[in-house]
């Protein structure tokens, strides 16, 4: 994802916003409705940058509590897709719905985050100068406004929640450590922990185990499997072993290629698919 593409996306988004209801998107006060079992509904989104089609009528449905892995070669549009979902880029066409009722295309990044969609970036972006504890504290699900932040005091329950997550991400003994001093893998976990603090219904994870050791990768798989069910997860990855560990032979895998879905099915099916092998997996 290069800065100029991001910028073009942001520009398109601004244009969309201007055309939206009353010129400004409404503040989201509705709650997402998951009664129909759909967590994320993406229909025919198309994004082109200067003639280059980054996404080409991409359609995808994630069920509530599902753990979906998305694989595909570089440039397939995985990150652009996430940008569209989280409000960073506006697609030229198509629909994106969170739950059955929230149109994500109308929301700003903060609002998408507030409504329950969490995103983890490829490069671990944590607050390097703050301690692990403070990193998590900032991500706590709480009032995000200025006055609230100024007079914020940690309640016991919130303290417990942070501890909980610290345990989950194996950083309990590092709580006071400055985040910048953590190892690469630990930073990835911290970021995941921050996502969890927001208590999102949907987690978008962009290459979460990139740069991790085998042991760390295993632990991460355990972590995700633990989250499945309570949260819906979309994991973009290149590490096939990790994907295998996650899908355990019974979960769907989606293959993206050139901006649209090439194949979808169990990992074994997908690995047998000739087109997928040609395009991505290799012989």
């Amino acid at each position: 994802m290069t800065p100029d593409l991001m910028q073009a996306g942001a520009a398109r988004r601004a244009a969309y916003e201007a055309k939206a209801v009353g010129g400004k998107p409404r503040f989201v006060s509705e709650e997402p409705y998951f009664g129909q079992g759909v967590a994320l509904y993406v229909e025919d989104i198309t994004v082109s940058f200067d003639g280059f089609k980054a996404l080409n009528k991409l359609s995808l449905t994630i069920d509530v509590g599902e753990l979906r892995c998305i694989i595909g070669p570089n440039g397939a549009g995985k990150t652009t897709m996430m940008d569209c979902i989280t409000g960073k880029t506006r697609p030229d066409a198509g629909k994106v719905f969170f739950g059955s009722n929230i149109d994500l295309l109308r929301l700003k990044e903060q609002q998408v985050a507030q409504i329950g969609v969490g995103r983890k970036f490829q490069k671990p972006t944590v607050y390097e100068q703050l301690s692990v504890f403070h990193n998590l504290e900032l991500a706590l699900k709480a009032d995000r406004r200025v006055r609230a932040s100024l007079f914020f005091k940690l309640t016991g329950a919130q303290q417990d929640r942070i501890d909980e997550v610290l345990v989950l991400i194996h950083l309990r003994d590092q709580a006071q450590r400055t985040a910048g001093l953590l190892s690469h893998g630990q930073k990835q976990w911290l970021e995941i922990g921050m996502l969890l603090m927001q208590d999102p219904r949907l987690l978008l994870l962009d290459e979460p185990v990139a740069g991790m050791t085998d042991e760390e990768t295993e632990r991460t798989a355990e972590l995700f499997l633990g989250l499945e069910g309570k949260h819906s997860l979309v994991v973009v990855e290149h590490d096939m072993k990790f994907v295998d560990a996650l899908t355990q032979g019974c979960k769907k895998v989606t293959v993206l290629h050139e901006g649209s879905v090439l194949a979808e099915g169990l990992l074994s099916e997908v690995q047998a698919n000739q087109k997928v092998v040609e395009v991505y997996l290799g012989r």
Binding site: Q129, V146, G180
Partner: protein, 381 residues
């Protein structure tokens, strides 16, 4: 990320007891500072006879007061640059606006003691104006002008910041634009028609709230007030950076995208600290003018604003105490140089800019901490 202190320094900061505003040592230091400024300084100036070695001359009292005002500006700069990563090269305009607001009141207080013996300020008589311009309407009221001291810079900062932050202007572009802002303001104030004394500004003040400005007692009092304001602002700043709000600011400095994706709106946070910082500078300007006795558009020059940044950098960004030390160090040096070797002052200042950016990314405070803790710091990003 430029502007961020080194990691080991932040580590040390993280070790401070959570929840407490200052450690025991910190409170002791604050108490000592308060005592010094409220008791020691007046004593050494007013009580101790002039021929005594311990006597603090009037010149030094004024100088101290002046540097304390600068220290407030440096503190304000630390809040936006050290903690939020916004480098402003135009903060001088807020300082000057506060100064002008106070200046207007002082000009009215001259009464008929001016050169032209008229109720109107000298420069208006000189320009042959018969009435006060609209913006002088409240200049006779101390309370109104004091309100303007914070409102004028605050409003300007708010409007400017609103447009700038909303359009996500960042980094060097923002810095350059702040420089353009102060430059434009300076040009505006140089014009006689703007009604602020043109390139001569305001000067020749006589009294403040009935007290003559020349008397030693007033001078010391102003110095003491400035010192107390500085200490007060310091404690306020400390409270701010230790709160969650302060941590959001630092998060914005380090990873703004992540902050957005965590659900915070960076614009409102930046805007609030920016406006606060501007108002602090306005107050500093208002305290500066009666002590120095003059205000003119030169205070708005880009050069003056850039110096504020260097005080913060020399002292140590994101430490709060660092910029205060930096302000004292640089202005102390300036005072000494302009008396001893005036030709060399700018060489020294220029070299200081270079040395601090190349060799002292964490300023003097960072140097001190490095030496005292023996922790190996890496070059920051």
């Amino acid at each position: 990320m430029s502007g961020a202190p080194s990691l080991a320094m932040a580590d040390a900061a993280a070790l401070a007891p959570r929840g407490a505003l200052l450690g025991a040592r910190g409170w002791a230091a604050v108490a000592a500072a308060t005592l010094t400024i409220t008791v020691l300084v007046p004593l050494l100036n007013l009580m101790v006879p002039e021929d005594n070695a311990l006597h603090l001359g009037d010149f030094y009292v004024s100088l101290l007061g002046k540097i304390l005002c600068y220290a407030i500006c440096a503190l304000a700069m630390d809040l936006i640059w050290g903690y939020t990563g916004i480098l402003s090269l135009g903060h001088g305009v807020f300082f000057a606006l506060g100064g002008y607001a106070m200046g207007m009141y002082l000009m009215r207080q001259i009464g008929t003691d001016g050169q032209y013996k008229s109720a109107m300020p000298d420069f208006m008589v000189f320009l042959d104006w018969k009435e006060y311009p609209w913006h002088w309407a409240l200049s006779d009221s101390f309370v109104a002008q004091m309100l303007l001291v914070v409102l004028a810079p605050g409003l300007l900062a708010f409007v400017f910041g609103y447009f700038a932050f909303r359009s996500r202007i960042k980094g060097v572009y923002f810095s350059i634009i702040t420089q353009a802002l102060t430059f434009a303001a300076m040009l505006l104030f140089f014009r006689n028609e703007t009604g602020f004394g043109g390139n001569n500004g305001f000067t020749d003040f006589k009294r403040l709230l009935g007290q003559p400005l020349n008397s030693p007692a007033t001078r010391v009092l102003l110095c003491v007030i400035t010192g107390l304001v500085l200490i007060g602002f310091f404690l306020m700043a400390r409270a701010i950076v230790h709160s969650k709000y302060g941590r959001v600011l630092q998060a914005i400095r380090d990873a703004e995208t992540r902050v957005m994706f965590t659900g915070y709106d960076p614009v409102i946070y930046k805007l609030s600290i920016w406006t606060l910082s501007a108002m602090m500078c306005g107050v500093a300007g208002a305290l500066y003018v009666p002590q120095v006795g003059i205000i003119n558009p030169g205070e708005m020059s880009p050069a003056a604003s850039i110096e504020i940044a260097i005080w913060a950098a020399v002292g140590g960004r994101a430490t709060l105490i660092g910029p205060i030390i930096g302000a004292f160090f640089v202005n102390g040096a300036k005072s000494w140089f302009t008396v001893a070797f005036p030709e060399y002052w700018l060489f020294f200042l220029g070299a200081l800019f270079i040395a601090v950016t190349l060799f002292l990314p964490n300023g003097l405070v960072g140097l001190f901490r490095r030496k005292s803790e023996g922790v190996r710091t890496g070059h920051d990003a």
